[in-house]
């Protein structure tokens, strides 16, 4: 009797193997996301930085806040800006006025931090487009279209009911974020802490 092998998409064994691989693929995606969250916990140091503003997310109204830090906006004091950073932010002003099209273009910006022992927080003391040679620094993205620097630590999910506490703390300048800071300046937020 002449029997021909079924095509792969009709062969139960191959389909089973394929489906198994598809399930593994889902788990791989989940594991990748976990790794993204877990790696900084083991490879970084933990520091505290001050939160200056809380913004409610408008689409997901649930338990999510957008955070602004002391270094989320270019400093008004030009002494904190290195020459290249100062020129860049000036360019931001000009491109805004010219209604420039290339607003999605961003540049990495390095913010050097110093420790205030009495307040137990790290604060910015220099903004530069060049990587600092020593000391702790945090790296963010400065966009041409806005005077806002993003670090990937702006999203925070809180326990329901804590929102008011955080709002009061930020008004009293007592809200700090505990973040994992890697040696290359990449960071991830761990939690929010209300200082006494």
């Amino acid at each position: 009797m002449n029997t021909t092998a079924p095509p792969p998409w009709k062969d139960p064994k191959k389909l089973g193997l394929g489906l198994f691989a598809a399930f593994l693929f889902q788990l791989l995606i989940l594991s990748g996301l976990c790794a993204k969250g877990l790696v900084p916990r083991f490879m970084s140091t933990r520091i505290k930085v001050r939160v200056t503003e809380l913004k409610e997310s408008n689409w997901r109204k649930s338990n999510h806040l957008r955070l602004d830090f002391e270094f989320s906006k270019p400093p008004k004091d030009n002494a904190l800006l290195s020459e290249n950073a100062r020129l860049f932010f000036k360019e931001v002003e000009t491109s805004k006025q010219n209604n420039s099209e290339d607003f999605n273009i961003s540049k990495p910006i390095f913010i050097s931090l110093k420790f205030l022992k009495n307040e137990d927080v790290w604060v910015p003391f220099n903004f530069s487009l060049e990587k600092p040679k020593d000391g702790k620094f945090i790296v963010g993205k400065a966009f041409r279209h806005q005077k806002q620097i993003l670090f990937g630590i702006e999203d925070f999910y809180f326990r329901e009911g804590n929102e008011e506490l955080y709002k009061q703390a930020v008004d009293g300048k007592k809200l700090v974020a505990e973040i994992f800071l890697a040696p290359n300046g990449q960071c991830q937020i761990k939690t929010l802490v209300i200082q006494k």
């Binding site: 389909l15 394929g18 399930f23 788990l27 995606i29 989940l30 996301l33 877990l38 991830q188």
Partner: protein, 454 residues
């Protein structure tokens, strides 16, 4: 006790017995005894299927209610137990789907479990992101959710999973329109330089079309076409093309008007389906409280996705009115049809809103928002009930399930609408539980009605 056999087998047996008697193989007494042993297995009526489907949907809502309760206590758990729960649930569903498919040969159950696995996978994506406070937007999570679910649907050859993917793609397009303006598509972080929405959605749709064409699965093809239609409108909205909703609804209105004079059955049913979808989309939009807020914003220059209110409002009226004509069965069916309920309520809703806007202008926004939301929600629930009831009466499984699915969509929409504003996570949990109880009530109500009629 009689033995139950499939009716086709029994028919064959009863057809053969006279032949055996004729040939003297069995006596008439023996023939009678053989006949008395068996009785036909009653075909599972579709009403039974519908009953169990409602129970199934109710159990999903109960599950979500439980998950929300778990979510409320989520912060008490460390990240390792959290990850354990998320991976555990996903793997359990996947293992269930795999085993039922290849060891017990229960295809439908396997598809349902794989669908639950897909849902669990997506929820896990969101919750892992929350656990580690990872940066990212909903559209990115939905993108990965779709990418992770496509291979399962393709290799599992499962229309149910394609339905899930289509719903995810619809949600993805909607979020894109909500969150992004002309953003660049960056798959795996690589800057493609291409606008995000159109190219990515077309690529995501390809596997669905390939599957639908190879397997000749009409339903998957329909789902994919719906996504294309929605994506097209959303792309127009993203790119702020002037008046897409107006144009779309006018086109819909023309198609609907033609159904009344067309003799072509296929065209009529397609256009009628389009009309129903248009009405439901409009009602779903108006049910959403955020939409109402933006619609009745204090500024006179109201803009929604780059469109002026003046563009949207007539479009709404055109679609609603034309849909009323078609769905309500203008004139001849009005007096006798159940759909006259829908006709009257939609008409009431349209007139009410029109009058309120004329009378109050843009001064008393909050009352308008609340009234408008409540009326739209009642209308949508009536539509669900009407479709389910009519489907039950006419034994139209598609109509019945359309009503049930619409009810589920409405439930999830209320989750997003109310969550955080009213009741929080516990409130949402209670909402899902209440809806689950309502579905159980409806299931038993129709079951009893069926028994009474029988």
């Amino acid at each position: 006790m009689k033995k139950l056999v499939h009716s086709t087998h029994l028919d064959w047996l009863l057809g053969e017995i006279p032949l055996w008697q004729e040939k003297g193989i069995i006596t008439p007494d023996q023939a009678g005894e053989i006949r008395s042993i068996y009785m036909p297995l009653e075909k599972p009526s579709w009403q039974n299927l519908a009953f169990y489907s409602l129970i199934w949907a109710a159990s999903i809502l109960c599950g979500i209610s439980l998950l929300l309760l778990l979510g409320y206590n989520w912060d008490f758990m460390g990240y390792i137990p959290r990850l354990g729960v998320l991976f555990g649930i996903t793997i359990a569903f996947q293992a269930g789907a795999f085993c039922t498919r290849f060891f017990t040969d229960k295809q439908l159950l396997s598809e349902i479990l794989a669908c639950f696995g897909g849902a669990s996978f997506g929820i896990s994506l969101f919750l892992i992101g929350q656990t580690f406070n990872l940066e990212g937007s909903e559209y990115e999570v939905f993108w990965w959710w779709i990418v992770g679910t496509i291979p399962v649907a393709l290799l599992g050859q499962s229309p149910i999973n394609w339905l899930l993917i289509s719903l995810l793609e619809l949600a993805w397009c909607g979020i894109l329109a909500d969150q992004l303006n002309s953003s660049i598509w960056k798959p795996f972080g690589w800057n493609s330089g291409l606008p995000l929405a159109p190219y990515s959605i077309m690529i995501l749709l390809v596997p669905g079309f390939v599957y639908a064409l190879f397997k000749k699965c009409r339903w998957t093809l329909v789902f994919q076409f719906i996504v294309i239609a929605f994506a097209t409108v959303m792309i127009m909205v993203i790119w702020k093309i002037k008046g897409p909703i107006l144009l779309g609804s006018l086109a819909m209105a023309c198609a609907l008007s033609l159904t009344e004079c067309s003799q072509d059955k296929v065209f009529t049913s397609l256009a009628s389906l389009a009309g129903k979808i248009a009405t439901v989309l409009i009602l779903l939009t108006f049910c959403y409280y955020e939409f109402q807020k933006s619609l009745f914003h204090s500024s006179n220059k109201i803009k929604l996705a780059g469109l002026n209110l003046s563009d949207i409002w007539p479009a709404y009226l055109v679609v609603a009115t034309t849909s009323i004509l078609i769905i309500g069965g203008f004139g001849k069916k009005l007096a006798e049809s159940r759909s006259s309920i829908l006709f009257c309520t939609i008409l009431f809703y349209g007139i009410l809103l029109g009058l309120l806007i004329l009378v109050f202008g843009a001064k008393n926004h909050q009352i308008l928002q609340i009234i408008s939301s409540i009326v739209a929600n009642i209308l949508l629930l009536l539509t669900c009930a009407m479709w389910m009831d009519s489907g039950w009466e006419n034994e139209s499984i598609i109509q019945f399930f359309a009503g049930a699915i619409l009810f589920l969509i409405w439930t999830f929409q209320r989750y997003f609408d109310l969550f955080g504003d009213i009741g929080g996570m516990l409130g949402a949990s209670a909402l899902f539980l209440a809806c689950a109880l309502l579905l159980v009530f409806l299931a038993f109500f129709w079951q009893r009605k069926k028994r009474r009629l029988a």
